[in-house]
Amino acid sequence: MTALTRLTIAEARDGLARGDFTAMELTEAHNRAVEAARGLNAFITETPELAMEQAAASHERIRTGRAGALEGLPLAIKDLFCTEGVLTTAASHILDGFVPPYESTVTANLKKAGAVMVGKTNLDEFAMGSSNMTSHYGGVENPWRKRGDNRPLVPGGSSGGSAAAVAARLGLGATGTDTGGSIRQPAAFCGIVGLKPTYGRCSRWGIVAFASSLDQAGPMTRTVRDAAIMLGAMAGHDPKDSTSAPLPVPDFEKALSGDIRGLKVGIPREYRPEGLAEEIAAVWERGIAWLKDAGAEPVEISLPHTKYALPTYYIVAPAEASSNLARYDGVRYGLRVEGATLDDMYRKTRAAGFGAEVKRRVLIGTYVLSAGYYDAYYAKAQKLRTLIAGDFKTAFESVDVILTPTAPSAAFPLGEKMDDPITMYLNDVFTVPTSLAGLPGISVPAGLNGEGLPLGLQLIGRPFDEETLLRVADVMEKAAEFKALPAGVEA
């Protein structure tokens, strides 16, 4: 049954409709794959029995002609989405034993579309990280290995478990969340497609909050078509999230016309900093050539405030995190460490429950919001955010999409870049600006580097124009002909 885990979402959907196999067979194959790949540590909680129940219900709906858009398709869910009756940890010790009495809107939408959940995937604690190394449940191994070097590599982060699961064929797709690159960077590291939609496209309700003005859920899949299908099921207006956009959800799959003739593709000169790795520059050049060959027109553009995006992000995101994470106090859910007084209990609980990176960000956030420093840091960062968003707005007056590398390097060994937080932050240098501007971005696998590791290219679109983004991504994917498979996945 190995072959069933190799299907795309589109192929599995069509195979189920034709009756080539059943939803139970498809889920059983994935349950077995999840169990066999436990060494990757991609999952915090496996839900094989729930998956089989859901598959049986899907089977019945398919049989009676009531199939939803994702009917019977096994997906992995990032353990940042609250799932009713299923442990939800955010990869933090402080949420020990938390079983939500409600379902996040995005996972409820997936359920409504008939999707089957195989488990909850590992992530950086509270989605704060770019390597999955900050998880209380341990790091995740990237299924890819360097040629001739068996040292385990990070899958990227924070949606590292989701990316590893999709690359290792443990789910047909997975949900991710992206605050500064947490869908796109791990997608690039694991050789899959990762789409961060426009801020407001997917509801944030029931997703454990990190930085509310930036957080956005999106699909992680093996093809652009699959991302289009999955986004269609995840997205939609939700009155429970006041920043959810009251817009209709287009048929994203229909947007994949294959025709990008005449489209203008912006190539920002600021994304070519001194010291950009040669292999990254080379794959970017190939991407430009592919789009040109398909009839699009590359246009050099300038996004002058690019270099200020990371420092802006590392004020805005910790500030929002420090207030969002104030709710973890040992009173209503999760871990409690007893103390002599109420304050003492708070302090001890939070000291024991939060890991080092989360503490750093909560402390930085507390500082930049504190009396006397607010204007110098937080207000200043909000002004820079206006300038960064303005750069994109100006650029999109003359181009339809923007093409950049997704990350400044390929996947690195487990445990590297852990000594200095800023070295780790630099992973997101190409993805953070898009997040600050609230724009949609997609990472598409573009090829392998000299060591046999996948590299990704990022396309950035206008607000709520995921259709153009997906259309260009689909053309680029076809040109890239990325067929390589990670270690352990049989050809």
Partner: protein, 95 residues
């Protein structure tokens, strides 16, 4: 801005995170490095620039002021580290 140990202790107290004395030096160094990194923003002239308060160009919606949810006390208390008689239990606040 470099943070000294006393400032880190104050921030940690504001954030209600217990920090041991022997951790203060290391933490002060790490946090100072992050602050140095973000302080490059000061070189940008932002006079007359509006701070961004929302990335979504949306008007905040209003809803009718009516109860739409509730009556699920037991389900909410089910996750409490300590609950009794329909309440969350915490250490005594008032003597």
């Amino acid at each position: 801005m470099s943070l000294d140990k006393a400032t880190v202790r104050t921030i940690a107290n504001l954030a209600r995170i217990e920090v041991r004395d022997e951790e203060l030096d290391h933490l002060a160094g790490e946090l100072s490095n992050i602050l140095h990194f973000v302080e490059q923003l000061s070189e940008v002239n932002t006079d007359g620039v509006e701070p961004m308060t929302s990335v979504a160009a949306l008007e905040l919606p209003r809803r009718a002021d009516v109860v739409s949810d509730g009556n699920c006390r037991e389900r909410i208390l089910a996750n409490a580290p300590e609950a009794d008689d329909g309440f969350f239990l915490v250490p005594k606040v008032v003597e």
